[in-house]
Structure formats: structure tokens, C-alpha cells
């Protein structure tokens, strides 16, 4: 099913013409309305007329995290403050929060984006959608909520924090769709299994996002809950969830190119990479009124595919995320992403172990310890059996990341379990102190 076929299946030439026209208008608008952007453009001797279409995009300076910090909270506002009807923000645990400031039209376009994504996952007005992203400053809850309402589905705004309540609503209302983070959904699956309630639910699919997840996690979710899992992508500073989503072909996340212009650049040089190659995803918001972003460095590493998808959509597909430019750990000179470790651990017996990576530096040598909870399925009444388990973990990690990790088996429920984002890394090295 396709929500907006006229846009989602546009011919490539038409997409590019639309993007060029919108980019021109956008540059003109920010140059005249946002001092911060105007100064950045002037600093490189750029005037609005220099940008005649998407072929000129590389002339424009990037917008980075640093720019957002400087302009916090509303320094990049491109409309009078009275036009803004809503604010969202990230938790800002590692700096200033990232802000979303929406005009009425921004909120509408956001809902349109999420509606396209949810329709891609098969959601219709007949469905009952349980939204278990946090409601509030976080974009997840209200973003999913408005999109599902736009489709006309029955929305249950459970939010996060109370798994028992969620399970009650899930069963009593026979919800057919759940929107939450993948790690929280696995926690829900675990709870349902413990309580022997898996056969009482009526879910057909989930729309998961807000954190990186692996194919293994997807198949976990699909098998344990007997549902189809879809991946939704977005960032608060771009608008929230609904920027891109994967279709039934699971061949990447279709990004709404009529609203977002994606590029892939080399994170070190900022130059475009060759078509199909991996680099940092850079996005320009083509239609956002409140807080438009010009060439925003997302710090997500991925590539783009432009061929027409088997689902019929022509919108480019963001390929599997390879990590974050800033999540990347460098251990003994090796680039390690927590997602790689997770993927490796899941190969052990096809399920998600709870794990924690502890990186430290002892006598100027980096060390990696991976703690694994000994859940019932890993149990052995023989010392040798448990040592074999630890050995297996060491072996799959060695293959996946090329490092010798110390594996420590820990008792169940000792690692921090999340009701949302999970903490999987402790870096004790204080490299930047």
C-alpha cells in the first residue's frame, strides 16, 4: 500500500526538478530570514543566485552539531516566532538539546511523512496502533501519534515506562500495530513470554526506530511475536520519526526526497563519495518552515540506493546504517561499532543476550571486556559448558571486530535493562578529559 503514490513513485527526473526548485526557494528564504545562515554563506562568498538547483548543493556550507549548539535554542528560526506552534527537543545528554520548532505546515508535513511510513508497513484506518514511544519533548510519541491519526487508525497513546499497563492495553484492545524502540519491544516480548501471553496478542506489525538495530534483532522480534517488523528513521532536528522507512522489500529505508534532500559525504573531507559508497548521511530539509537545515551532518554512516524498488517506490533508499561517526569506538586502533558487537552476539544462538561492553585503558593498552548475562538458555551445570559459552563469545567477537575481548559471564538481570534506549557501552578511558 502506498499513501501518496503521486509523490512516492515520481520519476527520477521529476524528483530532481522538484528538489531543485525547492532548494532554490529554501536558500533564498534562509539567506534573507536567518542571519546565522546568511553569515555562513557570506563567509564563503555565496549568494542565493549561485544556487540554481541540486547540482550546486556542494557549494553550500554544512550545518553541524556545533552550529546547532551555537544557535541554541532558536537562532536558526526562519519564520517569526509567532508562527511556531510546537517545540520538541532531544534529551541533550551530551550537550545542548537538539530542537525541533514546527509551524502548522511543518506539523502537517511531519504527519504526512509518518503516514507514508506507516502505510508502507501496512497500517490502515482499520488498525489499532499502540504508540509506546515517549510522549513529551521526545519526537517519537507525538510523531507516531499524528501519523497514525492522519491515516485514521485507532491510536492508543500508552507512552513508555509501564510495561504491565502496556501489555494490558495490547491484549484488551487487541492492538494490531505497535510503535516503539526495538530494544523495548524485545523487553515486551520477553515479558509476554514469561507470562505466557504471546498467544493472547493480535499484533501484525511493529514500527521500530529511535535507535540502531540489526537484522538479527528484527528476526528476533518477528519470530518471537509472529509479526512483521519495519524500521522508521528520523532525527528531532530534521523533524522526528518519519523521514524514512523500510518497505516490505526490506531493501533500505525510502527517504521522502520531496521534503529531504540526502547526500553521502566522506566524513573526513566533506566531499561527495562515489555513487553507492558508504559515508556520512547529510540532509537538507527542503520544505521545513520553522527550523530549516542546510546540508545537516547527521553523523550516521550509510549509503544510498537510487534504483526503483520492487515495491514500486522511486524514492532513494538509505542502506543499512554502519554506525555513527560519533559512536565509533577506537579500541587498539580498530574502529568498533556497538552494532557490530550486537550482531556478533546474536549469532551465538539466534537470540539477544543482554550485554555490556566495558572499554578501559590499562598500562596504556586498550582493553575490551564484554559482559554477558547467563540467561536460562545458556545455562550449563558444567563448568566446562559455561567456559565453552565464554569461548564461543570470544570467537564470534574476534571474527566480527578482530579484537580479543575478555568475556565475563554475569548473573541475569544485573546489567541495566532499558525501557527505551539501552546502554551497551561504558568507556572508562577518559580520552577527552
Amino acid at each position: 500500500m502506498i499513501w501518496n503514490e503521486a509523490k512516492e513513485c515520481m520519476a527520477r527526473a521529476d524528483i530532481e526538478a522538484l528538489q531543485s526548485a525547492r532548494l532554490k526557494k529554501l536558500v533564498d528564504r534562509v539567506y534573507h530570514n536567518v542571519e546565522y545562515y546568511r553569515k555562513k554563506m557570506q563567509a564563503v562568498g555565496l549568494e542565493p543566485m549561485d544556487i540554481q538547483g541540486i547540482q550546486d548543493i556542494e557549494k553550500l556550507p554544512f550545518t553541524t552539531n556545533e552550529d546547532l549548539n551555537q544557535a541554541y535554542p532558536l537562532g536558526l528560526l526562519a519564520v517569526p516566532r509567532s508562527e511556531i506552534i510546537r517545540i520538541h527537543a532531544t534529551s541533550g545528554t551530551t550537550g545542548k538539546p537538539k530542537i525541533g520548532a514546527y509551524t502548522r505546515r511543518d506539523v502537517d508535513i511531519w504527519a504526512e511523512g509518518v503516514a507514508r511510513c506507516m502505510t508502507m508497513a501496512g497500517v490502515t484506518r482499520e488498525d489499532t496502533v499502540l504508540v509506546s514511544y515517549g510522549y513529551g519533548l521526545f519526537t517519537g510519541g507525538l510523531g507516531a501519534h499524528y501519523g497514525a491519526e492522519k491515516i485514521g487508525a485507532m491510536v492508543i497513546p500508552v507512552s513508555t515506562g509501564n510495561t504491565q499497563k502496556l501489555i494490558t492495553m495490547l491484549i484488551d484492545f487487541q492492538a494490531t500495530v505497535i510503535a516503539c524502540t526495538p530494544s523495548y519491544l524485545l523487553h515486551i516480548a520477553e515479558t509476554l513470554e514469561k507470562e505466557n501471553k504471546v498467544d493472547q496478542i493480535n499484533l501484525k506489525c511493529c514500527i521500530c526506530g529511535a535507535e540502531p538495530w540489526t537484522d538479527e534483532m528484527r528476526s528476533q522480534i518477528e519470530q518471537r511475536l509472529h509479526i512483521k517488523a519495519y524500521d522508521i528513521y528520523g532525527l528531532t532536528e530534521m523533524m522526528g520519526p518519519g523521514v524514512a522507512n523500510d518497505c516490505e522489500a526490506h531493501a533500505g529505508l525510502h527517504i521522502w526526497e520531496d521534503h529531504f534532500l540526502p547526500e553521502i559525504v566522506d566524513p573526513a573531507t566533506g566531499a561527495h563519495v562515489a555513487p553507492g559508497e558508504t559515508g556520512e548521511l547529510v540532509i537538507t530539509t527542503l520544505t521545513k518552515e520553522g527550523l530549516p537545515l542546510i546540508r545537516y551532518r547527521t553523523r550516521d554512516l550509510t549509503s544510498l540506493a537510487y534504483d526503483t524498488c520492487s515495491c514500486g517506490r522511486t524514492m532513494a533508499r538509505i542502506q543499512r546504517f554502519k554506525g555513527r561517526t560519533d559512536d565509533m569506538l577506537i579500541i587498539k586502533g580498530v574502529n568498533v561499532f556497538p552494532t557490530q558487537v550486537e550482531a556478533a552476539l546474536l549469532t551465538i544462538d539466534g537470540t539477544t543476550p543482554h550485554y555490556l561492553m566495558v572499554v578501559d585503558r590499562v598500562d596504556n593498552q586498550d582493553t575490551l571486556e564484554v559482559q554477558i548475562e547467563v540467561e536460562e538458555r545458556f545455562f550449563s551445570d558444567e563448568i566446562r559448558g559455561l567456559e565453552t559459552l565464554a569461548g564461543k563469545v570470544r570467537a564470534v567477537l574476534k571474527t566480527a571486530i578482530g579484537l580479543n575481548a575478555r568475556v565475563k559471564l554475569v548473573e541475569p538481570d544485573t546489567l541495566e535493562h532499558s525501557q527505551g534506549k539501552t546502554k551497551h557501552v561504558i568507556d572508562k578511558r577518559k580520552l577527552y578529559a
Binding site: 545455562f379 551445570d381 558444567e382 563448568i383 565464554a390 548473573e411 544485573t414
Partner: protein, 140 residues
């Protein structure tokens, strides 16, 4: 002819053994025999208790991983060589002894818990020896 053994995974952290035992005591589960095997990182507590399934349940609620499995419990005489004779007959039958430990039960002779690669065959072999094979009821 098997006896249920409860094995509990313990991290080598202070107080974990006491914590596990306290949970059993608070739930009025009798410990008939206890043995601890450990490495530098973790330990395995092997118990014969009055109600192994309940024990597993209450331990799970207390965030311990445990497992209930079968072992063979035997009593052999104190006569010289009787242990090696019994074990010899088992290994001669191509059965692997995975682990064994002494049981703190019985008055005369020595009592042992035995986990092998093939419990059924082990019973057949040791039946021919002059050993007593405990039933669960005798221990519980």
C-alpha cells in the same frame, strides 16, 4: 533411579552464595547436600534440595539463573579400592564422567553424586557393583 540436582550460576562477587542460600531458607527449602565448583570468574552451586522446582522458581525471582537436572547418587563402602572399582567399570563402558562430588548424606560408607554422558547406561553398569543407588525419596 535418578536424583534431581539444582545447579545455580554464581558470579564471583561477595555475598552471592549467601544470598542464594538465604532465598532457599526464606522459602523453607531444605538443603540436603551442597557442593560448589568455581573458577576465577564464576561458580556453580550444585544442590540437592527438598523441592527443586520450587527452588528454581524462587531463585529466578531473586535474579539467579538455575537449572534442574538428573544425576545419579550412590553410596559405596569404605573398603579400599571400592571407588576406583566403580568408576573403572563406568569408564570401561565408554561412559564419560562429566563431574562428581561427595554428598553429605548417609552414615556409613561414602555417598557420591555422579553426572555422566549417559545416565541410563551408567545405572546398568553400576547395578552390577555392590553399590547402593539412592532414590529421590530416600534423600528428600
Amino acid at each position: 533411579m535418578y536424583v534431581k540436582q539444582l545447579s545455580v550460576f554464581l558470579e564471583n562477587r561477595e555475598g552471592r552464595l549467601e544470598e542464594a542460600l538465604k532465598i532457599l531458607k526464606d522459602n523453607e527449602i531444605n538443603i540436603i547436600s551442597l557442593s560448589l565448583a568455581d573458577t576465577s570468574d564464576f561458580g556453580l552451586l550444585r544442590l540437592i534440595v527438598s523441592d527443586p522446582d520450587k527452588a528454581k522458581q524462587v531463585l529466578k525471582e531473586g535474579h539467579f539463573s538455575s537449572q534442574v537436572g538428573d544425576i545419579i547418587a550412590i553410596r559405596i563402602s569404605h573398603a579400599v579400592g571400592s571407588l576406583s572399582q566403580v568408576l573403572g567399570s563406568v569408564t570401561e563402558a565408554d561412559i564419560n564422567i562429566e563431574y562428581m562430588y561427595t554428598l553429605s548424606v548417609g552414615i556409613e560408607g561414602a555417598s557420591l553424586a555422579l553426572k555422566t554422558s549417559d545416565l541410563e547406561k551408567t545405572i546398568e553398569v553400576i547395578r552390577e557393583q555392590s553399590v547402593h543407588i539412592y532414590t529421590q525419596a530416600e534423600l528428600g
